[in-house]
């Protein structure tokens, strides 16, 4: 794909849940100071899905937080939906430009938890927090890419396109069909934290080549925290993935993480 709308693509940045990211030159009409932007192209959608997705993105864009990625525009061409956002060359926790130090990783998750708190206070649930959506910045990190799967495919808790690996960062209650909640985002933050520090998921190795097997394993295996995780972090991860009613808020998690890295 060479571009969409008036965006000229430079190169692909990789697939995300439900679409693919591209690095693109900023068209002149965009009132932002940047040479490059990131554009996410989502497969064909109906007009309704386009309008729903745009509404969700507008709500996301209206939340003020220095740790939320800045969205630029959303549009469609020939039934193909896209939206654009600031381009952060540091990559993500999942695919960093250079491997982050442990402290940098913890700080980025603290920032993203702060961003999640800001979303939650506006009544928005992100639904797709995972290492690939924790973008690395000099100041720490930014939360990217609201989970639009439910909007683009109503009723979907996981979408088939893209990365099945994201199910290991999804609250099992959500996979089982429960409604997304802020506590579900906190679960995802805990799983992301666990992955960032131990390099392992909460379900161990997943047969990611086979989505059905992966999902069955996630369904049948209770998540378990790595035994060698140091006590403070282990306790924090346990709290995040424990009983939904007793989980910390995203903001509470951020505070505890900041305390660890300062």
């Amino acid at each position: 794909m060479e571009g969409i709308a008036d965006y000229e693509f430079v190169r692909s940045l990789g697939a995300g849940n439900h679409g693919e990211f591209y690095l693109a030159r900023k068209p002149g009409r965009l009132p932002v100071e940047a040479e490059y932007v990131a554009v996410k192209v989502v497969g064909g959608t109906g007009g309704d899905a386009f309008r729903r997705a745009t509404r969700e993105l507008k709500a996301f864009a209206a939340v003020r937080s220095p740790y939320l990625v800045t969205l630029y525009d959303a549009g469609q061409q020939g039934g193909v939906f896209y939206y654009s956002m600031e381009y952060l060359p540091g990559g993500s926790l999942g695919r960093p430009a250079e491997p982050p130090s442990r402290e940098r990783a913890l700080r980025s998750i603290a920032c993203v938890a702060t961003a999640a708190q800001a979303l939650h206070e506006e009544g928005i649930v992100h639904r797709d927090i995972r290492p690939g959506n924790v973008l690395l910045t000099d100041a720490g990190g930014k939360l990217s890419d609201l989970g639009l799967s439910q909007v683009l495919t109503p009723g979907a808790t996981v979408t088939g396109m893209g990365d099945i690996g994201s199910v290991e960062f999804t609250d099992p209650a959500l996979l089982q069909g429960e409604t997304p909640t802020p506590a579900g985002d906190v679960w995802s933050l805990g799983a992301t934290l666990h992955w960032a520090v131990t390099g392992a998921g909460l379900y161990g190795e997943l047969p990611v080549h086979d989505p059905l097997l992966t999902l069955r394993k996630v369904y049948s295996t209770p998540p378990s925290v790595h035994a060698e995780l140091e006590p403070e972090l282990s306790e924090l991860v346990h709290a995040c993935i424990g009983d939904a009613a007793k989980r910390p808020t995203a903001g509470g998690l951020a505070d505890r993480l900041y305390a660890l890295v300062v």
Partner: protein
């Protein structure tokens, strides 16, 4: 229970076991351990004053453990307004009620067949394959004997022709939600002929006591219409010959934004289909088409004219169904023995079903990892978006495509009915097959008929796509 029931019960000669306990009937022939379990189910039900539904439920639990191994078994028991009957394996049942004779054969079902036959019931017959004819003077007023079946004439011997149960302890429990009641599907005629697709599946639920006289028989839970299930695996059908096979339903053209340069725009539908199918990555160039966009950044000329949208409102409120609360106030299917959330035992008899919002019934897992929450109906197909029932919001679209084109535009409806998940094949070209849990074989489902599926069922859509119904409920 003992002062009512089946009138004169005459045992049929044979080599199985026949039991008449507490007004409930059991005929079975199987390994001793299973027979013991089945007799236990019968005795427990009788001891607790349970009716035919309670019996069928308990027996179904015994059979569920044996899933995949045909157990020759038939049970019957009175319920308010009729008789509940369940058969499995080579056993056979025939019940004559108000609507004529109803025959059930266990071997035609994937798991077992059950049915609630509306009264007044005049005759009940349960048979094992080798059963002989009843001696006209033989009687089994109660107990367990060797035999091949039972034959009951309810008009004989002073028994009331209509089986009357004592009034339920509460009037709030409606018959429709009694545990293990066969779930009637919507009447067949309404069930999604491709031309008339928008059906509210739960809207036309006949009362047991007053079934529509000339509608098709209600589909028994868990499986319907035995005659449509071949007991042997069906061969894989040939793929749909071409992608462009004329659909029964012609979608309206998509509203297209004002045309820009007329240099050969790619038809919208092909773009969508190709992209969604993943055929050839991104072969379709849409860049010569007009585009529309909306700025999201606050610096733009149209800076936030409308207030920020709050959380997405729940698109539809959850439908109300009858259920029971466990001790921890989790709302449950009244038919299940354990709470689906906390696993605590539900003591059925002491719980009064009430109407509450239905929790999600689980999820559909597609083979590409897509997971759909079962909180409403879905229309599955390669082009479901513009079907009328999707457009009016009553059904969610679930777009499923396959490179071989074997998924029809509108292939299958997943219809939730009470606590059950039903499939309705919408007359698709390549059909829909199901593989019940524990069964190695796939079975065709009949078109335009609701078929209830159990958690763990794998569903093949067309030739190459599959999905599974996963749930911690209804186990």
């Amino acid at each position: 229970m003992t002062d009512e029931g089946f009138g004169v019960v005459r045992p049929l000669p044979g080599n199985g076991l026949v039991a008449h306990v507490g007004g409930l009937l059991l005929v079975c022939d199987a390994a001793e351990a299973i027979v013991e379990d089945l007799l236990g189910a019968l005795r427990e039900t009788a001891a607790s004053g349970g009716d035919g539904r309670a019996l069928a439920r308990r027996v179904a639990q015994v059979l569920a453990v044996m899933m995949g191994e045909p157990v020759a078994c038939a049970v019957a028991g009175p319920v308010t307004g009729g008789v509940a009957v369940l058969v499995s394996g080579p056993a056979f049942a025939s019940v004559t009620g108000s609507g004529g004779e109803v025959q059930l054969a266990g071997r035609d079902a994937l798991t077992w067949s059950d049915r609630l036959v509306p009264g007044p019931v005049t005759r009940v017959e349960l048979r094992l394959p080798e059963a002989g004819e009843a001696h006209p003077l033989a009687r089994l007023d109660g107990g367990v004997i060797v035999g091949g079946g039972v034959w009951c004439d309810l008009t004989e011997g002073g028994a009331p022709p209509a089986v009357q149960r004592p009034a339920p302890r509460t009037e709030t429990a409606p018959p429709a939600v009694q545990p293990s009641a066969p779930q009637p599907s919507a009447p067949r005629a309404e069930t999604a002929s491709p031309a008339e697709p928008s059906l509210p599946p739960a809207s036309a639920r006949p009362e047991w006591s007053a079934p529509p006289a000339d509608s098709a028989p209600p589909a028994p839970y868990p499986m319907s219409s035995p005659e449509h299930y071949p007991p042997v695996p069906v061969p894989t059908p040939a793929p749909e010959p071409q992608l462009s096979a004329p659909p029964a339903w012609q979608p309206d053209p998509m509203p297209v934004p004002p045309q820009g340069p007329p240099s050969g725009p790619v038809p919208q539908e092909e773009v969508e289909t190709a992209r969604a199918s993943g055929i050839g990555g991104d072969p379709v160039d849409v860049r010569d088409q007009p585009f529309e966009y909306e700025l999201l950044t606050p610096g733009g000329p149209q800076a936030a004219p409308e207030p920020p949208a709050g959380p997405e409102p729940q698109p539809e409120s959850r439908p109300l169904v009858y259920g029971v609360d466990c001790k921890n106030d989790h709302f449950n299917d009244p038919r299940v023995p354990y709470c689906a959330v906390c696993g605590i035992a539900l003591v059925q008899r002491t719980l009064v079903p009430y109407k509450g919002p239905r929790p999600p019934l689980g999820v559909l897992l597609l083979d590409d990892g897509m997971t759909l929450r079962l909180d409403t109906d879905y229309l599955v197909g390669r082009d479901p978006e513009r079907a009328p029932e999707v457009a009016d919001g009553s059904v969610r679209p679930a777009k499923v495509t396959s490179p071989d084109g074997s998924v029809s535009r509108r292939h299958l409806r997943v219809a939730l009915d009470g606590w059950d998940v039903n499939l309705v094949d919408l007359g698709s070209v390549n059909g829909t097959q199901i593989q019940p849990p524990g069964d190695p074989n796939f079975y065709d489902i009949p078109p335009n008929e609701a078929v209830a599926i159990l958690p763990g069922t794998t569903v093949r859509i067309g030739v190459s796509r599959t999905m599974r119904y996963e749930s911690h409920r209804n186990r």
